[in-house]
Structure formats: structure tokens, C-alpha cells
Symmetry: C2
Subunit: 378 residues, 2 copies
């Protein structure tokens, strides 16, 4: 089957680009002797996950317990649930651990430490826990300079029979950077916060075997991983326009696109309508704050070749409106009704989440080589 | 089961508010002797759809052929696929029609008319077609003043043995309005464009039994429906913050919310973290351009009562950050880790699409009265 026979809109995944993106980051971290814990939040697919993992047993990070359950069913044994735990989710954590999964969790408060300790006592199970450290104020975590709070959490976990496995930072601020130098500076602050907290714990007599940092920009550019043991990243495998805008990859590296059919022309031929609206590409406008605003995405032809200056400038639920960037001097391509285009996404995590499967192709080929199912929900 | 035992994040649907929202619009259109064709693009759920429909057989409008197939399986016979047809989808249209479904489609070009006519001849089936008329330049449709094009499309359909069933307008511009007077003015222009085109067709000897207009703001406020035969609307059943910002409903009418658990506090207690990020509420920031920017949503307690000035001000994939509106004089509520909140969405269509089911409750009750499955995809 050729991709031009697919029902539109749907996701196209270029397996070669996917593999190249994975190799690039994996080799980089291997050279630095770091454990690589790929994050499954973008993929949500066993076949993609297996290509990202070092071995079929993991390790991986996940953003939902649904991901943990699906990858556990597929044989993954080492799973980090990298979102601060809600106490009500400890029962599901317990169920997965009782099946032999080394599922570790993340906390950043004494209240969570108490809940985890209570569960560890109830289950007689040393639930492994990473303390999240806040390096840049972007999201959660104990402030890196709140030493007493870090130690109180550690004492509570330890006394309750949970396993203090280490510290974790996430540097959301790398997404706001404007160039590679800024990314490196932010990543270095993240590293220092993580290492500082690990030292604090060790000096107080607590174990801290894992010092985990992460984000695709960090994994791609950070030069200094001294005293870091593992790195997490997820979107790097697919890449997207936000990552390209940060300089993490080129637009040509983007492995994911949305296939769409032309359904109309308006504004005296200055606009092309396609059957992929925000339901198919998501509402993510992540490049709007970057140097180049890509609207809802960059348009390629059916071969995946970029059509100069053509972007999805507006979207309603099932309609995408394509037009030339303002100021463009090229002319609108001839795309008659029924012709197909591929839309490169701003944010692969958000776009992939709108779909139930990946349609797999190779560069320059229209032959559908495979279909990989995704999962969603919590 | 009580809703505080649900796994978060998940969708909560208040059945009373849903019913009231439906009754309000239905009664309004009944009084005006209009056919009401509820749109299933937001609901994507048989149980919600049945409450919106006049009878179990319809009529309905849909935004995808997946919706058409699901509602056809559930016994709906009169379905309008209200997005301009891609020629590649005519085979699926044909398959549904051969099962006895009165599925009608929409076109706005001679090229589509030729494709539909060819299919009608092949199937010996007078596929019913509405010509989309563009009243405001917001999306697709033949410009209302492009008389020759409208007539050429009509001739092509007629000659090919398709059924010209009427004209359709969609007034996306009502979403940009700032008050009810503006909505009425935009809706009146939409009405005039539709009626003008219907008259054009009839004067040229073509049938035009259906003159269809739509959008929730139009259905809710338009005063003049002279010469209009049917009205389409979808989001009215749920309502959302964008609709409330337009004055179409009050915030208290919103039937849909996302249940979330508190998982942390940061910035010296000025921020509350919940386990619902943009994956659970969508990336839609539709109120950002309105008078009151509601961020990613308005926060209610577990009973559905609004917490003064608390909004979701930022989101990452699985983290929502709650904070007070800037300038607020109230203090942050006490929401310890593990407590639950409900988030009212900017855009019900986008938020519902992130979930697989509705958890049904009544006002003031925590008892889960039902679970209704949704579908998604194309």
C-alpha cells in the first residue's frame, strides 16, 4: 500500500529519520558513559519505544501510569514515573511493583514522603523514590537551596522503609532558550542543582545512587555531565519545529508529519484548505514565541520535501488553512483539490497525541512499510 | 462510586447542565419553527448525541466520517458531513449510503462537483450535496457574490445525477465577536449570504430545499431566521469559557470539567501543581484574545464551585500550574497534596478530544451516575 491511499488526516513516521535521531543522542551519551533513560511521553508506542531503549527491559521514563502499564506488559522492567506522585496513584504503583516491575516514583514534599512511607510499610516494599529538585523555578521540585526540606523528605522516606534512590531535575527553561550557548548555560545550572542536592544527601549519610537530569535540549547539547549518572529525553526521537527553532535539530530531521488532503481554495487562490485542522495537528503554537513563527506547521509535499514558505497559518477543528508566510516572494504551489501534503508539527508530543497510530515510511518512498499502534489516556 | 475515587486526570460531565444547555437552544429554535441539526463534533459520544437529537434517527451534522460511521451504527439515518469533501473520501461516503444512511456532503468547487457527479453516476446514487457559501471569508465556501461559480457547481451536480439539496454557511466570525450585538450582526450577514444564494439557485431553476446556517453563537442569539430552514450547533451542549466570554452562556452553565489531583506547591506556596497538564485540558488558549484571559482554565472545587481568581496559568504535558490572576486580592485556597479540583475548559471540543470517556454526575453530588464512552480519530 502507498501512503497516498491512506485515509487523511493521519500520522506519517519516517523510520530512517527516527533511527538517526535516536542514534545521534544515544551515541553522544554513550561517549560520556551516562545511562540513557529515554522518555516515552511522546512515543506512547511499543515499536518506537523499543528503538529508543537500550534493551527490551529498559530503562525508560514515563509521564503516565498508563505508559508504565503498557510498557510493563511489553516486557520493560525498569520504569521511572517522572511526574510527582498523587497519593491516590500509590495503589496502581503498588500493583505494578507487585508484578516485578522496578517502578520508581518522584516526590518533592514531606506530605508525599509520608504517603509513600505509609504505603511502603503497608506493602513491606521499599518503593524507590527520587526527590525532584527545582533548578529554575519552571515547574515542580524542592528548591535546590532548601536543604532542610530535602533532608526532611529523605529522613521521612528512610524511616518509613522506602528507598531513597536519588535526585532528579527537569530543565523546562531550556525550551525558552534562543541558542545553543543559552541551552548549555541553563543545563549547567540544572546539573549544579542536581549535584549539589546529591552531595547534601550523601553528606548527611543518605544514599543517592542516581543523579538524573533531562530534556531533549540538555541531552543534545550539554557539555558537562560531571557527577550526573543518567539523562532523560523523549521528543528527540521525533524532533519537531520547536526543537529546530532551538537549534537542536534541522527541520529535515523531523521524523513525524501529518498527511492531509487538499479540500479547497479560497481568498482568490491565496489560501489552500486541507482536511487536517487543529484536531489533527493539535492547538500547540510553540514556535509563536521563537524567531520564526511556523503557525500550525510547515508544509511538505507527499515526498516530505518542504514547500518553500508554505505554512498552516490558521486552523479550525477539521480545516487547516495553508498560506505563504507574510513577505514571501515565491508563488503559491499548484495543489489541486485531492492532492496531498505533509505537515511538520510544532510539537511532536502534542501532535502525536491526537492520533491512534503511526504509518511508517522511509525517506523518498511512498510505500507504507508498517503501522504501529499508539496508546493514550491515563 | 464517588468521583473522588476516580483516577485523575479525567473528564466530569454534569448531566443536568448538559440537559439545560440542550433544552435552551432546542426550545429557542423550536419556537422559530426551524429544523435543528445538532453537530456531534464536540460530543463524539452516542449517549450525549441522543440527548442532543430530536429523535434517535437524527438529524445530525458531523465533522468526520468516523462520527458518521459511529452514529450510523447507533441508528442515526440523517447525517450531514459538514466539512468540504476530499474526493478520496467518496468511497466511504458511498459505503455509508449503500447501508441506507441519508448521508449528505458539502462542496465549494467545480472540481469537487465533478468528482461527486462521477461517483453518483458510478453508484447510480443521487448523492445529496449542499454548496458551502462563504459569508465572511473565515474558512471555506464559494464567495456569496460569485454567482456564476455557484451556478456552474449546481449545473455540474445536476447533470451528473447528484442531488443539489441546498446551501450551507458557517459563520466562524461569530467567535471573534465581543458582544451579543456583534454576534447578531455577523449572523445576519451569514443569513443574507445563505438566502441570497438559495434565491440565485431557485431563480435559475435548481431545487434548494435546505438553507442551513450554524454555530453556537448564531443558534443562541440570532433574531432573524427568515428563509432559513435549519440551524447547526455543537458546543452549546457543553459550553465552555470561550462561549462564556462571548456572552453565550454563563461560566456556571459549563457542563464539562477536568478532574485533577494536587501533586505539589511551588514558588513559596504561590503556585499549586496538579496532575492535569495540556494533555488533559488541551493546548487551546481561546480566551487569550477575549476580555478575560482564563489561561488554561478556571479552577473549581470538587463540588464544581468556582474558586475565586484561581486559574491554570501554565501547563506542561502532565503538569498544570494553578495560580491567582494577577492583581487578585484574595488569598490562595488551602489545597493540600491529594486534594482534588475541577478545571473548566476554554474550548470543550479540544478538551473533550483528549479523553476517552465522560464521567457523569449531577450538580452538588459526588456520586458517579454513569460512564459514557467517546470515540476519536477519522
Amino acid at each position: 500500500m502507498n501512503i497516498d491511499q491512506l485515509n487523511t488526516p493521519c500520522l506519517i513516521l519516517n523510520e530512517e529519520k527516527l533511527s538517526n535521531n535516536i542514534e545521534r543522542v544515544r551515541n553522544r551519551l554513550n561517549e560520556k558513559a551516562l545511562i540513557f533513560r529515554p522518555h516515552m511521553k511522546t512515543a506512547k508506542c511499543i515499536e518506537v519505544g523499543r528503538r529508543m531503549m537500550k534493551s527490551p527491559q529498559g530503562p525508560i521514563a514515563v509521564s503516565t501510569l498508563k505508559e508504565a502499564e503498557k510498557f510493563a506488559e511489553a516486557g520493560v522492567l525498569d520504569i521511572l514515573y517522572a511526574v510527582g506522585i498523587a497519593p491516590s496513584k500509590l495503589e496502581a504503583v503498588s500493583a505494578l511493583r507487585s508484578r516485578g516491575i522496578d517502578l520508581s516514583i518522584v516526590i518533592d514534599s514531606v506530605s508525599q514522603a509520608e504517603a509513600v512511607a505509609a504505603r511502603a510499610r503497608l506493602d513491606r516494599d521499599p518503593i524507590p523514590v527520587l526527590i525532584e529538585i527545582d533548578a529554575d523555578g519552571s515547574r515542580g521540585g524542592v528548591r535546590f537551596d532548601a536543604s532542610e526540606k530535602v533532608l526532611t523528605i529523605a529522613r521521612e522516606l528512610h524511616a518509613g522503609g522506602a528507598e531513597l534512590r536519588g535526585v532528579l531535575t527537569y530543565s523546562g527553561a531550556t525550551y525558552e532558550c534562543r541558542d545553543v550557548d543559552e541551552i548549555r548555560a541553563v543545563a549547567e545550572r540544572e546539573r549544579q542543582a542536581a549535584v549539589h542536592s546529591a552531595r547534601l544527601l550523601r553528606n548527611a549519610g543518605f544514599p543517592c545512587p542516581i543523579v538524573s537530569v533531562g530534556s531533549t535540549p540538555t541531552a543534545s547539547f550539554s557539555e558537562n555531565f560531571a557527577d550526573i549518572t543518567e539523562v532523560r529525553a523523549g521528543v528527540f526521537a521525533f524532533s519537531d519545529l520547536v526543537m529546530a527553532g532551538l537549534g537542536v535539530c534541522s527541520v529535515e530531521d523531523i521524523a513525524l508529519s501529518v498527511l492531509a488532503s487538499v479540500i479547497g481554495h479560497s481568498h482568490d487562490g491565496h489560501r489552500i484548505l486541507v482536511d487536517a485542522g487543529w484536531m489533527a495537528v493539535s492547538r500547540d503554537l510553540g514556535t509563536a514565541s521563537q524567531r520564526v513563527d511556523q503557525g500550525y506547521g510547515v508544509i511538505c509535499d507527499l515526498d516530505g520535501e518542504i514547500i518553500p514558505d508554505l505554512i498552516m497559518s490558521a486552523a479550525s477543528q477539521e480545516h487547516g488553512i495553508l498560506s505563504l508566510r507574510s513577505g514571501s516572494r515565491v508563488s503559491l504551489p499548484n495543489l489541486p483539490i485531492g492532492s496531498m501534503v505533509r505537515i511538520l508539527p510544532n510539537h511532536a508530543c502534542a501532535t502525536a497525541a491526537q492520533h491512534q497510530r503511526y504509518h511508517v515510511v522511509s525517506t523518498g518512498s511512498h510505500v507504507l512499510s508498517d503501522v504501529w499502534e499508539r496508546f493514550s489516556g491515563w
